[in-house]
């Protein structure tokens, strides 16, 4: 997030127009994530997995309006914002301080960030967590972890004030979700078949489609994080094209080296990893460095993903690798190659300001600890009140039938209508005389 001088309280129509579109783009990322995740699980859990993301829109959206936004963006307290904007109080057409867009738009744009961050964590617990506890977790996490980290990273909290640069959410979105995911996977426990039989993606086409839509939405996510159409947004927008393209290239090469085969699910993962890598750095580094970030950053992510299934932690859809690791790398990378000539804010180590690397390292250290710790405690607490997962036979039958009473791919055979549609006559055999 780029500090603009506070005098600019004039609404700019061009900036506002772009931010309206960017908000819609980012909201679309949550159903896109649902597609991505749903394709990666087994068919019997596809709807449940999708619904975990969709439900985040309802839950995190409400919590954000009620209290989350205020705690994140009201005032510049060190640890937490104020309560002035609780329940959308005073969120109006007036320009948000430091931007040229109405606060209403600023609020909506930030809401979509909170929503997708909550949805991201679901990747760690799919195929086994009960839906009720998930919704409760989502509600509390969005306030306890997201709002706090958003305040630290770009709401005027201590990290931002201390000089840490985070353009579009390497702290509050990527590292927060990635490291929370590990805690969630540990507390909820592994799927009963994990490590025993192969648990394969049921539809890799959905995975690629989801990844494509996420990338599309990410242009709003990063391109909108300059809150306008100025240089930072333009730079972040183009970097969002370059960095994922580079990481996709690296991933395909690594696949070739490993198995002589380029995988589709790997390509989808590489796109996400590339988008995450550039998220914190988008408006701070030159396009050349963005390419290098994508080329190099994909390598550690690739090996974290290759290694994780050999552990006993069933962090099912690798949120740690794709978001935690990539967000961590992106945040640190700023410390090396940020360029004041491109971003107008600060230089990194390579351009003479080694202190920036220290600021970045601080965020990269503190965020994972906070996210992991809070999520661990929160889920333990919820688990003490209600079971986090159902009995084993439910897991065998699949979450879709148990928690939603629907199937993603019903055969339609053997389904007997119980209550005829109101107003229609009961079906009559055709052959009646």
């Amino acid at each position: 997030m780029v500090p603009v001088l506070a005098q600019a309280t004039q609404i700019d129509t061009g900036d506002t127009a772009w931010m309206l579109a960017a908000t819609a783009l980012v909201l679309m990322m949550t159903p896109a994530l649902g597609l991505f995740y749903a394709g990666l699980v087994r068919a019997k859990n596809a709807l449940n997995t999708f619904m975990m993301s969709v439900s985040a829109i309802a839950i995190a959206g409400l919590m954000w309006a009620l209290i989350g936004y205020s705690l994140a963006f009201d005032g510049t307290g060190d640890l937490i914002g104020g309560l002035h904007n609780v329940g959308l109080h005073d969120v109006t057409f007036a320009a948000r301080e430091g931007t040229t867009i109405p606060e209403l738009v600023f609020f909506a744009f930030q809401a979509t960030f909170c929503i997708i961050t909550v949805a991201l964590i679901s990747g760690a617990v799919v195929e086994r967590m009960r839906f009720g506890p998930w919704m409760i977790f989502a509600a509390i996490w969005s306030v306890l972890v997201y709002s706090v980290l958003a305040h630290w990273g770009f709401g005027g909290g201590w990290l931002q004030e201390g000089g840490t640069l985070d353009f579009a959410g390497g702290i509050a979105v990527e590292m927060a979700s990635g490291f929370s995911a590990v805690a969630a996977a540990i507390v909820v426990g592994a799927r009963k078949d994990y490590g025993r039989i192969g648990l394969l993606p049921h539809n890799s086409v959905l995975v690629l489609l989801g990844a494509g839509l996420l990338w599309f939405g990410w242009f709003g996510f990063n391109g909108g994080s300059g809150f306008g159409t100025g240089d930072p947004s333009v730079l972040a927008f183009t970097n969002t094209l370059l960095c994922p393209a580079a990481s996709l290239f690296t991933w395909m090469m690594l696949d070739l080296i490993r198995d002589k085969k380029v995988t589709a699910v790997g390509a989808a993962t590489a796109i996400i990893a590339g988008c995450v890598l550039i998220t914190p750095a988008g408006g701070f580094i030159s396009p050349g460095w963005a390419l290098l970030l994508g080329l190099l950053g994909a390598i550690p992510v690739y090996y974290v993903i290759a290694y994780r299934p050999r552990t006993r932690v069933d962090e099912t859809l690798d949120v740690l690798a794709a978001h935690g690791t990539a967000g961590f790398l992106g945040i640190l990378f700023i410390g090396f190659v940020a360029q004041a000539s491109w971003n107008g804010v600060s230089d990194g180590w390579f351009y003479g300001h080694i202190g920036q690397l220290g600021d970045q390292a601080l965020a990269a250290l503190v965020t994972p600890l906070y996210a992991f710790g809070m999520t661990f405690v929160l889920l333990k607490a919820i688990g003490a009140v209600m079971p986090l997962r159902g009995p084993e036979p439910d897991e065998s039958l699949g979450m879709d039938a148990i928690y939603h009473g629907e199937e993603a791919y019903p055969s339609g055979e053997g389904a007997i209508l119980v209550t005829p549609e109101a107003g229609e006559e009961a079906p009559v055999p055709v052959a009646q005389p």
């Binding site: 025993r196 039989i197 036979p393 009473g405 629907e406 019903p410 389904a415 007997i416 209508l417 119980v418």
Partner: protein, 117 residues
């Protein structure tokens, strides 16, 4: 020669395969089928339509074996497929008139696995 047909829960299919492998039974076919084995119906709702789904997904194994291997095969399927809940499935053993291995033209006992018991 007998044809052993086992209808089991899809989530137990891997365990059945493993048990069959350990019993040294080779040469199987499996297919996805739908059936009803007395388990509870699932109720599903799509918008205004509530339906009772009477059939459940099952996996059907078909294994041609020599007489000496019938019991081993049946035991292996039982071991792999049993959960103790209604809906575990059934095994049918039916006589086979003739078997031909297409590649070699071998017939009957020579064509089913395993040959030597």
């Amino acid at each position: 020669m007998k044809l052993v047909i086992g209808i089991v829960r899809p989530e137990r299919a891997n365990d059945v395969l493993e048990a069959l492998y350990r019993a040294e039974v080779r040469g199987i076919s499996m297919s996805r089928v739908q059936g009803h084995g007395g388990e509870l119906d699932r109720v599903e709702t799509y918008r205004g339509s509530t339906v009772k789904v009477e059939v459940t997904d099952k996996v059907r194994f078909e294994i041609g074996v020599s007489d000496d291997f019938v019991q081993a095969t049946v035991d292996a399927i039982c071991d792999g497929a049993r959960t103790g809940q209604v809906g575990d499935g059934k095994i049918f053993v039916v006589p086979v008139e003739r078997v031909v291995r297409i590649r070699t033209g071998e017939t009957d006992e020579a064509a089913v696995t395993p040959v030597s018991a």
